[in-house]
């Protein structure tokens, strides 16, 4: 992974100093609430329902074991002993004291970590494929490009006060696990006919109040021009994005208002001035950064199909876990393992300090000292030897990381919701738990197969409900918490937004509603059809009929 040199370290230490002084001035009454707000947000600090929430940046989801231990220590010393993996691959602490935050940032800086631009109307953490660098279907490793974008966007002086937040995602594989088409900018690394590297550029995708799939405005942007082109897009947005209404301020509204074609023309007109300027990337820089992402010291191994098949036969639990939580690796004899943070009864994405420490140990012993967070709120050991999978499975079970539900209905993406977040209309964690309890039978869960269920506690859509095969949105009806259900969303390459099923439901009805939806699917599916494919074939009506029939 990327390792800081003296320049990078200087920047985050300057930030700690700056924020320490800003906090001091706020507490001394020299900065008003209103003046401090954007400053603290640009450092990931929210004022929440019970305590501040601090969102720590995990650039494109990569963490070293040293960083995990630092997070564990912070969870212990400054929080209630746990942390939360967010839907943007970051880590959140729900219980720090405002006064302690400068000290927490100083601690983080010792492990090359920070909370820069994890909130606020600025360029946020760039996200990517959790299997970047090891995926068998990868064409271009997106990580060096994410790091180049991270450096470019960190304290970019022109874009610190955008109309609204701005999120960039990069994908370099055949499958789009980074959901680039629902980002403000989505970059797909590609090679052209002559083998040169470049990017397909999508703009104006996003979830939130007005969900929309992005439009591709550039089919091949040569790599040298990545930053000047990003500068051009951001400049057009900074100057012409709406600032009169925060609900219409995202770039997607501007792109829609202008049309993608006209927006692209504006970007090109701006880019014509910036292209070939000082921000044009050099081979030396790309190489410098790429050196941080070369393969670890893989051994020459062979795939262990026969051995693993034998173990599967002897241990059905292992077979289940392997079927769901282990994926193929580009290197023979290796596998990438997803640790589920979705056991029933735990808030999705929560992880304790002890688990973080244990995870650091596992990373050191099994996976070259690194892990990745996924936007599905799980954690990945990306480079595990197949011959050690069985041994690892045993350890993961002890630690509560082996729930074999990755990609299944109970692997729920879920925002913190009304239990923590002051923006939420409704709680989300209890809904997740009720559904997990309803579908606790593993055989049934496996039979249902791949199903993304996403829950957001409000229309800010942190739980990505629009792109869940089943999406649940908390809504406020005259002061009471209700839940709207949508079907047919997808964040994959065939991205689509869910359709609303109908009138919303009370909390206690939700598990029943989901069960009815799943029953319709199970009855109507043909052979190995996934939920999303059945839905696309039969449409929303059969689901509607079943779910609402019972209410009359």
């Amino acid at each position: 992974m990327y390792v800081y040199d003296q320049y990078d370290q200087h920047i985050i230490e300057d930030r700690v100093r700056q924020f320490r002084d800003q906090t001091r001035r706020y507490l001394a009454g020299e900065l008003s609430e209103e003046e401090f707000r954007p400053l603290r947000l640009q450092n990931g600090l929210y004022v929440q329902r019970y305590a501040p929430m601090l969102r720590v940046a995990v650039p494109y989801g990569l963490l070293s074991s040293r960083q995990l231990r630092k997070l564990a220590q912070i969870a212990r010393d400054y929080d209630k002993g746990y942390a939360h993996i967010s839907t943007r691959q970051n880590v959140q602490f729900n219980w720090p004291e405002l006064e302690d935050v400068p000290e927490i940032l100083a601690e983080l800086a010792t492990a090359q970590m920070h909370a820069i631009q994890t909130s606020g109307n600025c360029i946020r953490n760039t996200t990517t494929d959790q299997f970047a660098g090891v995926a068998h279907d990868e064409l271009v490793d997106p990580r060096p490009w994410c790091e180049i974008i991270r450096q470019w966007s960190t304290f970019h002086p022109e874009f610190a006060f955008l109309p609204r937040k701005f999120k960039i995602a990069v994908n370099g594989a055949v499958s789009d696990r980074a959901a680039i088409e629902v980002h403000d900018i989505g970059l797909e690394a590609v090679r052209n006919g002559t083998g040169e590297l470049g990017f397909r550029v999508s703009v104006g995708g996003g979830l939130g109040r007005t969900p929309i799939v992005g439009s591709f405005i550039n089919e091949f942007l040569p790599w040298q021009h990545l930053l000047t082109y990003l500068d051009a897009v951001l400049r057009v947005y900074n100057r012409y994005g709406r600032r009169d209404n925060k609900f219409k301020a995202r770039i997607k509204i501007l792109v829609k208002a202008l049309t993608p074609e006209v927006f692209a023309e504006r970007v090109n007109a701006e880019w014509a001035h910036l292209k070939d300027g000082p921000s044009t990337l050099t081979e030396a820089e790309v190489e410098r950064i790429s050196r941080c992402f070369v393969d670890p010291a893989y051994q020459a191994l062979e795939d262990q199909d026969a051995t693993l098949a034998r173990l599967d036969a002897e241990h059905p639990g292992f077979a289940r876990w392997r079927a769901r939580n282990v994926v193929a690796h580009k290197k023979p004899g290796y596998a990438a393992v997803t640790l589920s943070l979705k056991p029933t009864g735990t808030a999705p994405g929560d992880i304790t300090d002890k688990q973080l420490d244990a995870l650091a140990e596992l990373a050191d012993r099994y996976s070259f000292g690194e892990v990745r967070n996924s936007h599905e709120q799980n954690i990945i050991l990306a480079d595990v030897e197949q011959a050690r999978l069985f041994e690892l499975w045993g350890e993961l079970r002890e630690l509560g990381f082996a729930t074999p539900n990755v990609g299944l209905l109970t692997d729920i993406i879920c925002c913190p919701g009304g239990d923590y977040c002051s923006l939420a209309n409704a709680k989300s964690i209890p809904i997740a738990e009720a559904i997990q309890r309803r579908f606790d039978d593993l055989d049934y869960l496996f039979d249902i197969g791949e199903l993304d269920l996403n829950i957001s506690g409000c229309m800010n859509a942190c739980g990505h409900h629009h792109v869940g095969h089943i999406g649940i949105l908390g809504v406020d009806k005259k002061g009471a918490e209700f839940y709207q259900v949508s079907l047919g969303g997808s964040a994959s390459r065939d991205a689509s937004l869910g359709q609303i099923l109908g009138p919303s439901f009370a909390q206690e009805e939700m598990a029943e509603v989901i069960e009815k939806i799943v029953t319709v699917y199970v009855e109507k599916r043909v052979e190995d059809e996934r939920f999303i494919d059945t839905f696309r074939r039969i449409g929303i009506e059969p689901f509607k009929e079943r779910v609402y029939a019972a209410n009359h």
Binding site: D14, N121, E158
Partner: protein, 165 residues
């Protein structure tokens, strides 16, 4: 007398900033004036023949392209921040410096506070009229917030062109 930050120092203000609805009536011939864009649009000639210095100010929804052909007339271009969270003029300042080669003073006016100065400076602002209820001497410290920057702006090339191992 108001004091402003200019080239990293607090100095006495000598320019008069005219309101958005100002007219030519009763304008001093010799004072240094920063006039609203509308007044410049209507009375460019009359303003040019005065003896005093001339500057223009743009509100946050007014674009630098409006004056790009006429920059030689202005010793000062002031860019207004109605709220410090309105970031449009960060782009304006960069355009003035980097695209249109403006070498005169670019002054931030309006809701201008210490914690934004560093970014403003990088975008090409060299003068800051700190909000009246704040101490410009305190605000000066904001210019020193960072010792290293990654990306290119009006002040320097990107770090990757300067970085030494």
């Amino acid at each position: 007398m108001q004091r402003i930050i200019k080239n990293g120092q607090v100095i006495d203000e000598t320019w008069h900033l005219l309101d958005k609805d100002a007219t030519l009536d009763g304008l001093s011939n010799s004072d240094d004036l920063i006039v609203p864009l509308a007044l410049w649009r209507e009375h460019a000639h009359a303003l040019k023949v005065r003896d005093g210095g001339l500057g223009v100010w743009l509100d946050s929804d007014e674009e630098v392209e409006e004056i790009a052909e006429e920059l030689g007339n202005f010793k000062v271009i002031a860019l207004n921040f109605p709220s410090f969270t309105d970031g449009r003029h960060y782009s304006s300042a960069r355009l003035l410096r980097e695209r249109y080669g403006y070498q005169g003073e670019i002054r931030a006016i309006g809701d201008v506070l210490r914690d934004q100065l560093f970014f403003m400076q990088r975008c090409g602002f060299d003068a800051f009229a700190i909000r009246a209820d704040r101490d410009p001497h305190d605000a000066l410290q904001g210019l020193q917030d960072f010792s290293v920057c990654y990306q290119a702006a009006a002040d320097q090339a990107p770090l990757f062109r300067r970085r030494q191992a």
